[in-house]
Symmetry: C2
Subunit: 342 residues, 2 copies
DNA sequence: TATTAGCACTCCTCTTAGTTGAGTGCTAAC
DNA sequence: GTTAGCACTCAACTAAGAGGAGTGCTAATA
């Protein structure tokens, strides 16, 4: 159990290091407001805190730097909620000024504003298209041998894909096919679609329409392929500002990670509400060992969910980011609720 | 006019510097195959070439480095066409193995392979959607007050956008509207669409349908907004490999430029066929003063055009990149022709 | 007993000086 | 016209020393 004084010192060190990025010395701490004891006392306490694993030194005679355990403790126990500047709140509100209908635009704008306000990198996940339900199928023939299949979902998302028509395919075949699809598949979620297509619809189709296989195949790949939710980035190069990322290799690894959809997806914890903080090696990705990732989710009507992540150095301004994410999450959720009931 | 010997020396220097990234000295040149004269002679020639502006020194007693003028001359007069490794050709061909129907997949794959083969950054522009023609309109109502408008183009591209339905809008209104749109606008190109909508269709619509303005507005913004052709990147972080980009600021500026659609668009010269090379400050963007950009175009059926750009340091392997782009351009053009006539 | 002043010690950082080596320009000989 | 020779330049590296921020420990103090 830490004493009050130790808590106080740990807090000062983390707070100071977050803004200065420099090891914090005892003299420096003693000059802080609220600190009533001498540098020597602080040195003793720091030695204890180091022994307990909350602090580290960069070399034998340097000041102290928070360890991952130190950040973790800070985040869990010392994070007093912070108010956000009214100017910043205004900027967030400006996302919703335009009365945009499209989910995508709102999310894109949110990503940019979040990265601007935090000066870190933001990643926003759009709604998980897989859980949308089919609202309407249609097929538009383009030429004698190609056509494009279109699926509209209940949330207004549109998936489409071109496919080849078999040579003996007629307009009436097409019409029959569309009718069958619309009869059978309305309300099926996209994630279940390929099952339904193959199990239920294929047999019926084959009875009424010649060579339906190609079409079913195209439809299956169309819905399989775009399985991931869309990803929006803000401030991709913001990390260049951080002194800990003056190493080209680190930056490169993180940028490369962000180009890999699967890696980005795994930064999030779907189905967990609230705000989550992963510090340094708590992240599963090796590339992220110098980063902290703060994530949260927001809802987009129904049971649809989106997610937000902020990526910064472990020396991140947790207080501010948590506060901003909290506002953002609520505002987005609210905006999409209003949208729906309009 | 340069003497043969000067040409020879300039060529050796550029060729050498392209692979080594180190200033080239007279002794080093004298050891190259085909060089029969002594370092002292070479030094004299180099002094002349420097006076003529083709070479530069990094400091008074360093070897020589090509100037921009030197690269320009090299590119214009010394670029012997290079054969490409059969393994590389095979890799390019692999793009077309899958017999993909979708233009987008082919282009995406091409971007990746180009960046891999060159170890530079590649940017591919997809077809200019603005020149597609309307094939079919449809509107799918989602709820009592929202609907999604869908435009399918002759090339199988699908644009869509949600909009709000006026409160007194009925299903028959919707049907009428769609019919009118399909009667009047089939065959209109997307770039002319908003004109046609406002000039021709709006009046007709207003006669038959209540409060059509909102819808027209949504349709106009839908087609305006996605006006740019899609951009695909390959090897965004490849430039980290180049020693000239060990400076964080340079890399950052270029990465930021690549996030700005308008800036990226202006790298290209639409409507100019063949291969174009911009060296260093020949690029209009200040961020690109250390880069060379090689661009070309390919055709996607009809009069549709796509474009390719490779971005690397001015010390780029022009020979190889030009050869690769040439193959790529032809293969893409051919692939899309085959696709259409299938 | 808890706190603190004092002091020796550590180690990073910055500066200066010296060495090495690759490369040049110029001159004079071939 | 070409080339060998030589003095000179300058970046890059190494070594040594000064300065300074900060620590840990000891002993004095409240």
């Amino acid at each position: 159990m830490l004493t009050n004084r130790q808590l106080q010192i740990l807090q000062v060190i983390v707070d100071d290091f977050i803004v200065s990025a420099q090891p914090v010395g005892s003299r420096q701490i003693s000059k802080k407001q609220g600190i009533t004891f001498s540098p020597a006392t602080i040195r003793n306490e720091m030695a204890d805190l180091e022994e307990l694993g909350f602090l580290e030194k960069t070399h034998t005679s340097s000041g102290r730097v928070p360890s991952e355990k130190g950040y973790r403790f800070y985040v869990d126990h010392l994070l007093s909620p912070q108010g956000i500047n009214s100017k910043d709140i205004q900027q967030i509100q400006s996302i919703f000024n335009d009365r945009l209908v499209e989910v995508e635009h709102i999310i894109r704008k949110s990503a940019n504003i979040l990265s601007e306000l935090t000066s870190y990198t933001s990643i926003l996940l759009g709604p998980d298209v897989q859980r949308h339900r089919v609202k309407r199928f249609s097929i538009v023939p383009l030429s004698s041998d190609t056509a494009v299949a279109i699926i509209v979902t209940n949330n207004g998302h549109v998936e489409n894909r071109m496919f080849n028509l078999p040579p003996d395919f007629t307009a009436s075949d097409l019409e029959k096919m569309v009718n069958i699809l619309n009869e059978r598949l309305i309300g099926v979620s996209l994630e279940d679609l390929h099952k339904s297509l193959e199990a239920e619809v294929l047999a019926v189709l084959q009875q009424h329409v010649r060579s339906a296989d190609d079409f079913i195949h195209a439809l299956v790949t169309a819905t399989m392929h775009n399985s991931e939710s869309k990803i929006f980035y803000g401030g991709k190069t913001n990390m260049f500002n951080q002194p800990e990322f003056h190493d080209l290799n680190k930056v490169r690894m993180i940028l490369d990670l962000m180009e890999t959809t699967s890696q980005v997806q795994s930064l999030f914890h779907p189905n967990e509400s609230g705000i989550h903080i992963r510090i340094g090696s708590e992240n599963k990705q090796l590339e992220m060992e110098n980063c902290s990732v703060i994530t949260t989710t927001y809802s987009i009507g129904d049971d649809q969910q989106g997610a937000i992540a902020i990526i910064g150095p472990t020396r991140m301004d947790y207080k501010r980011v948590v506060a901003l994410l909290d506002i953002m999450r609520l505002d987005l959720t609210q905006a999409f609720m209003k949208n729906r009931s309009e």
